[in-house]
Symmetry: C2
Subunit: 199 residues, 2 copies
Amino acid sequence: MPDIKHFDPDAALERAERLFWKHGTGSAESSVQAVTTATGLNRSSLYATFGSKHDLYLAALRRYLDHRARPAFRRLAEDQRGLPAIRDFFTALIDIRCTGEHSGWGCMFVNAHVDPQHNDPGVRALLDEHHRLLRDALRSALQTAVRLGQLATTHPIEGTAETLALLAYGINLRSRAGATAEELLGTLHSALAQLSPRA
Amino acid sequence: MPDIKHFDPDAALERAERLFWKHGTGSAESSVQAVTTATGLNRSSLYATFGSKHDLYLAALRRYLDHRARPAFRRLAEDQRGLPAIRDFFTALIDIRCTGEHSGWGCMFVNAHVDPQHNDPGVRALLDEHHRLLRDALRSALQTAVRLGQLATTHPIEGTAETLALLAYGINLRSRAGATAEELLGTLHSALAQLSPRA
DNA sequence: GTTATCTTGAACTCATCGTTCCAAGAACTG
DNA sequence: CAGTTCTTGGAACGATGAGTTCAAGATAAC
């Protein structure tokens, strides 16, 4: 008896995700009006499907985590090459941040730290989950590097993983201010050189 | 003949600075109405003194740079102790970010990277100036550390300064999501351990 | 085809946004 | 004290914010 949706909810969510990724929730370019324009659906369908704007933002964050961040983290964690895995993870990150369609957008989760809604419990939980996933993936790769005898230090790798996670945040952030890929790759090279044994 | 201002413009600017620091420009808590409430002056005086909201934000950023960031950078650059200077700079940073009045606010310039206005040329110029100042101060301190024979690496210190700058950004960012001082101090300790000669 | 149920479009609510305007008041000069 | 000029309070501007409502349209079950 019921009618069915005349659109693909996930396709609409993906459009909203990109809007919030680029502009956050506090910009005129990410108003509900802008979302309706970008997705092609109207207010009624939007609210009936996703609830409030805040709910939509949460869903968009979740989608970014599941569709963009988590796969990259998983590849990193499962890469058995050690330091080269970390290097490739960061070079791919820099490439995405500085070139192509999403250039200058930064990371949606880094941006979310500064969003007007960043203190909301739902947002905060996602921030923590994202951070934990990133740190753990780096720790796995570092663990592999230890196994392969690639690391110079004898310090616990927990701290190194956390340091690299913060480095990733810094890269994501600076890419929003127009930092070039060359610039960021140079910084990456320097940071990784600290990890390798002395020449 | 003319009347004079019935308030202290810099005191008002300081109030606005705190509002934009904590909430950015895109939040309901940093509306012009909120600024008038926080500063005690009304719209007319606000606009007559600072111009548009965007101009006020620029002035607030400039004030943060001159009154908060630059003095800390200068102390770091002029500190002749080398690595301990860098350590103290970061521990003071973490302290400010995690305890006291400004706890959880992060760094106004890190936040500005994500603000709706971050692509404005005036804002962008300030972001670059801030980044250059931070990086140069770290480079000066590292240079001193080299002179004192405190560094483990033979790599150029340019990259290390940039890496530490991005680490600072990461610390500032995570402090907004409730990262504890212990957590961040641990990460700092690990990062600095990479710089010191092996035990 | 009828009917029940969901979707959809568009008008609408009320609040707030940034900004402007103007009359009333205050302060310095002479 | 008179006169000039700026400041100040508060109302008002048009635009836009998020969210709701409801009749009209579409769909599938019977």
